[in-house]
Every structure is written in structure tokens, then in C-alpha cells.
Amino acid sequence: MAADGHIEALVAEGKWEEVRDACELRELQAPDAVQPWAVHVLAHLILGDLPSARLVEKRAPPEARAEGTPLALAWAAGRHMWRREHADVHRATAALPPGPARDAAAALQLAYREHVFGLLSTAYSNIPLAQCARYLGISAEECRAYVAAKGWTASGEGEEELLTVHKQEQRKQQTVGLEQLRQLVEYSVFLES
């Protein structure tokens, strides 16, 4: 499915909210035109909105959803995300032809990998290397290097190799100033009135 120039430009710039909005507007204003279904679904997936991605797939015409089409491949990734089959998400879009959909799929892989890594950092104190590599969609070697760069350590060998998670301290932004004082005064005035 061909996306128009404007949507392609937004995909190239990685502005996924604008990609999503542009795809929706095109769908409503020109429902008979060729729609960038795969890009639309992938934009929703990158933004973490699985229900909306599912609804896009549901309302696409049958010929766009047929097996092997870009939309079918894009939604396959969504289906795996829905079922939390982290390992399969990265493989699902490998067969997409070059173009905006493939660029969006590459962005999804990066975004999803970061998301899963964040989840593993929060949820695990230690995790087998093989499981971590599977979840991140990369080989064991790549995984070892990826997590080492984030401060994780490895122990053991072969199938027993275990990664110890290094929890990164979340830096909180805390500002104190006139703005907070003004808010407190507003609350006090409201409560007194």
C-alpha cells in the first residue's frame, strides 16, 4: 500500500504521533483512496497503543489483510505484542518490503527492545542470558554486549550463564519555586472561600 509523500516524510523524521494522526485523517477524508494500513498499525504499536492498532487491522478491507500483505506482517508483530510473546515481535516484520512500512518496523524494533529492556531491568534481579537475548530479539553475543553497556554483569558459562541486573537510579526532577507557591496559595484561597 502506497503512503503519500507527507506521511513518508513524517515516517522518515520519526514523528509517530503525527504519522498516526495523518493516517487517520487520510482514512476519514479519503476513504476510497489507497491507505497506508501497515504504517498506520506500526505507528500505533510504536506509541504503545495496541487496542487502536488492533482496530485499524480490523477495519481494513479483506484484500489489505490477506496473508503476506504488509498489513498482515505489521499486525503479526502487534499480535505477538498483545500476547507478550516478546521474542516473536522482532521476527514478525522481517519480510516487509523496503519502504515506509519497513522503516516504521525498524523503529518499532528499536522502541520495543528499549521497552522490554526497561521491563527486564525493573522486573528481574537476575535472568538467564538465553532468556534475555530471546526477549530482546538479538543473539546471545549481542545481548552480552548490549547489557554490559548498561552496567549488567554476567556470571557462569554456557546455558547456565546468568545476567545480574544493574538497577539504574531514576533521577527525579524536583523544582521548588514561585510557581509551586502560587499553586498552594490558589488551593488555600479556594478552600477558604
Binding site: L28, S125, Q180
Partner: protein, 435 residues
């Protein structure tokens, strides 16, 4: 018909012509039979720009209304004419047309739905709802039709902007109770499609609590969905306390005869996923025909999660195999997947150690001392302040009405009368005691 068209031209002229427009409305109502008799000429009048939607919006709406009284045969022509009315119509005249305009939009929505073009109506009806209402907090008769088209075309996200606006007011001139209840019901279905269960529950509650004398199918269906979404959000169900007394009694009588959802709620209380699955299996046909099978299956997942949530209250550490056993799962990796999902969704805070297969449950690390949390709190406080101001305004507007003044004076007289009797009875007893 020519005289009527000439009157339309004459009375629609110029700005600040509110009186003339009122006169035009009366004239159009009075000549309704004439327009009905000349139905075949309506298309010619509208399409030849004899009546222009930008200048003669009121008349245009009335002519379309007469046309829509008969089943719409040529959907494309009617749809195009309605879209032009909505896009070019004058706001003041649209609001004056009121119910007439709403019924034209309703016919338009139904025609599009029946001809498989639901998506086409979303942008026009969004504009129609925006133009018709007196402010963002108003529900119009068009809202429910717009939501219906969004549901029909699976374009749920297009309704989010409208549904996110808080609704306090209804213009009773052009919203029927049915349309108001359908706004709540369809709105709830939209949120369900987007997996926003709390918002869905609130809208179903709005439909259920609509003042009514008899129980309607809309309320019954809303209640079934309210039961299931309450189980997902809160873990239990209670009939909304603002549901009117006689409607509540009628619903309770109805649910005694059709106890499927109350029974489901009771089975959910056991938090036994296997029992829930067995119940759903026995009642699959009924749940599917009600469109609630998917929600019921979500409740099975939710029951398992609530069991794990209960474990976090009793244990600091627990093995994955023990978690699997308590939830009724066979393998510990299944428990690991559920715990991971709950951590991802922010339902629990825990750390899994794969070395020894143990899960350590942690406290919520949020200390509410960041800028982000302060902004969130500020947002909620301001919403509460705005709501309080709204309530105060409503109270003042009610207190200034004649009906309230009569009611208040009756109450005062009744209390004076009662206190007068009380004083006399006290004196009587004092007299008896003294003697």
C-alpha cells in the same frame, strides 16, 4: 412552494435577525404539509441553490427533515445534502433548528450505517455535534449517532476527543432520554474497545442512572456491561447508588428471572479461574449473543491477577511454583509470565530472581515528590475545584427558580407547624407531671 421559498429568502436576510428567524421557524412548521406534498421538488430546491445552506440553514434543515420522513432511497444524494448543511450551515440557525437538525443527522447516520459507509459520517457528525452544542459540557442528540458510527466502522479513536470532555449539561429541547442513555452506552462501548475500563464503567453508570419511569433495554445492557467492567476495575460489583428507586426495583425483578450476570459476579468472588472458565463454558451462547464473551474472558485473567495481588499483602517473598499453585496453574513459567505482565502494567512491584525461582514483592517506589507527580496532582485538584464551582453554579441556578422558592417555603411552613405542635405537647406533659 414558491411563496414559501420567497418567505425563506425574505426572513433569512441580514444579521441580528433573531426575531425574523423565529417567525421563519413558525412559518415552516405551519407549511409542513405543503412541503410534504411537494416532496418530489425538494431535491431541485436544494441542489439548484434556490435554498442555500449558508444563508438559509433553517429552511434547508426543515426541507431535509421532510425528505428524511420517508425511507432514504438515494443515500448518496441525501448524504451529500446533509454534509453540505453541516459544513456550511450557520451556527445560530442550526441551534434554532434544534430537534429538526438532530433528526436529520440521525437519518443521515442510519442511512450511512445501513449502506456500509459508516466511516464517511464521522467528520461531518463531529462538526455537527460541535456546532449544535452550547458549550463543551453539553451533550447533544447527535453525540449518540456519532458514537454509533465510530463503533460500526471500528474507528473508536475518532470519538476519544468528544468522550474526554466532561459532560454536565443537556439541552432538553433537542436531546431525548433515549439518545442520552445511548450516549452513555455507546460511549462505554468505545472505551471498552480501547481497553479503558474505568472510563467505560463511568459511562455505563451514567446510562444506568438516567432518570426513567420504566426499565429499558439500554439500561439492562448497560448494567450487564457495568457488572463485568466493575469486576475488572474494582473486583466487585454494586448497583450504582444513584440509580432511581423504581428502575432499580424493576432491574432487580428482571435479574431474578435472568440471573446470569449476578451469578457470574458471585463466581468471580471466589477468584477461581477454573470455576469461572467452567461457568463461561456453560453459558457461552448467552454471553456471545449479548456480546460479553470477550469481557467475561478478561474477568478470568483478572481473577488470577487479583489472587496474586492478594499474595503481595501476605508475603514478602514467594517462589514461582507456589504462585503457580495458588493461582491454579501447572507450570511456574506461566506464573512468571503473569507476574511480568502485572509488573509491566504497574499492578504490582516485584523482583524475580531466576537463579532461585523466587519473587520478592516490593513497596511502591513512588514517593510523590517529583515534578511529574506534582503536575498530576495539580491537574486533579484543579478538576475538583472546577467541579465544585460547577456544583455551586447549579445550586444557585436552582435556588433562584420559582419552583424551588415554593418548595422551600412549604418545607419551612411544615417545620414551623411541627415545632409548634412539639411545644404544645411538651407543655401538656409538664402540666400532667405538675398535677
Amino acid at each position: 412552494m414558491e411563496n414559501l421559498v420567497a418567505s425563506v429568502h425574505g426572513l433569512s436576510r441580514g444579521e441580528d435577525n433573531a426575531e425574523e428567524l423565529q417567525q421563519l421557524r413558525k412559518l415552516l412548521n405551519a407549511h409542513r404539509e405543503l412541503v410534504q406534498a411537494s416532496r418530489a421538488a425538494i431535491d431541485e430546491v436544494l441542489d439548484a441553490d434556490i435554498i442555500r445552506p449558508a444563508d438559509h440553514t433553517l429552511a434547508y434543515a426543515y426541507f431535509l427533515h421532510v425528505k428524511a420522513e420517508q425511507p432514504v432511497t438515494d443515500v448518496d444524494i441525501f448524504a451529500r445534502q446533509t454534509e453540505i448543511l453541516i459544513a456550511e450551515g450557520n451556527k445560530e440557525q442550526i441551534q434554532l433548528a434544534g430537534r429538526t437538525f438532530v433528526e436529520v443527522c440521525n437519518s443521515y447516520a442510519v442511512a450511512l450505517r445501513d449502506s456500509g459507509q459508516a466511516k464517511r459520517g464521522i467528520i461531518p457528525l463531529t462538526r455537527a455535534a460541535t456546532v449544535l452544542r452550547d458549550g463543551k459540557e453539553y451533550v447533544t442528540g447527535v453525540h449518540s449517532q456519532l458514537l454509533m458510527l465510530c463503533l460500526e466502522s471500528h474507528c473508536h479513536r475518532m470519538a476519544v476527543t468528544l468522550l474526554s470532555e466532561e459532560v454536565y449539561n443537556v439541552n432538553s429541547d433537542h436531546v431525548t432520554p433515549e439518545e442520552f442513555m445511548l450516549f452513555g452506552y455507546y460511549g462505554g462501548l468505545v472505551w471498552l474497545g480501547l481497553r479503558r475500563y474505568r472510563e467505560a464503567m463511568e459511562l455505563f453508570e451514567m446510562a444506568i442512572c438516567t432518570p426513567a419511569l420504566v426499565l429499558s433495554k439500554i439500561v439492562v445492557e448497560s448494567m450487564h456491561k457495568h457488572i463485568l467492567t466493575s469486576l475488572l476495575v474494582v473486583g466487585k460489583h454494586e448497583i450504582p447508588r444513584h440509580m432511581r428507586g423504581h428502575t432499580r426495583r424493576q432491574y432487580l425483578a428482571h435479574s431474578r428471572a435472568n440471573a446470569l450476570y449476578d451469578e457470574f459476579s458471585r463466581v468471580y468472588d471466589t477468584l477461581d479461574s477454573n470455576e469461572l472458565l467452567a461457568f463461561i463454558g456453560r453459558n457461552e451462547e448467552a454471553l456471545r449473543s449479548d456480546g460479553n464473551y470477550g469481557l467475561a474472558m478478561q474477568c478470568v485473567k483478572s481473577a488470577g491477577e487479583r489472587k496474586i495481588l492478594a499474595l503481595t499483602k501476605c508475603f514478602v517473598t514467594l517462589s514461582l511454583s507456589d504462585i503457580a499453585k495458588s493461582v491454579g496453574l501447572e507450570k511456574s513459567f506461566q506464573a512468571e509470565a503473569i507476574v511480568l505482565r502485572m509488573i509491566e502494567e504497574g499492578k504490582i512491584h516485584a523482583s524475580i530472581s531466576k537463579a532461585d525461582g523466587m519473587v520478592t514483592f516490593l513497596d511502591d517506589p513512588e514517593n510523590y515528590d517529583s515534578d511529574h507527580m506534582r503536575e498530576l496532582l495539580d491537574l486533579h485538584i484543579r478538576r475538583s475545584m472546577a467541579l465544585s464551582k460547577k456544583l455551586q453554579d447549579v445550586q444557585e441556578s436552582v435556588e433562584s427558580t420559582r419552583a424551588f422558592a415554593i418548595y422551600a417555603s412549604r418545607q419551612q411552613r411544615a417545620s414551623e407547624l411541627t415545632s409548634g405542635w412539639g411545644a404544645e405537647i411538651e407543655q401538656m406533659y409538664e402540666g400532667i407531671n405538675a398535677s
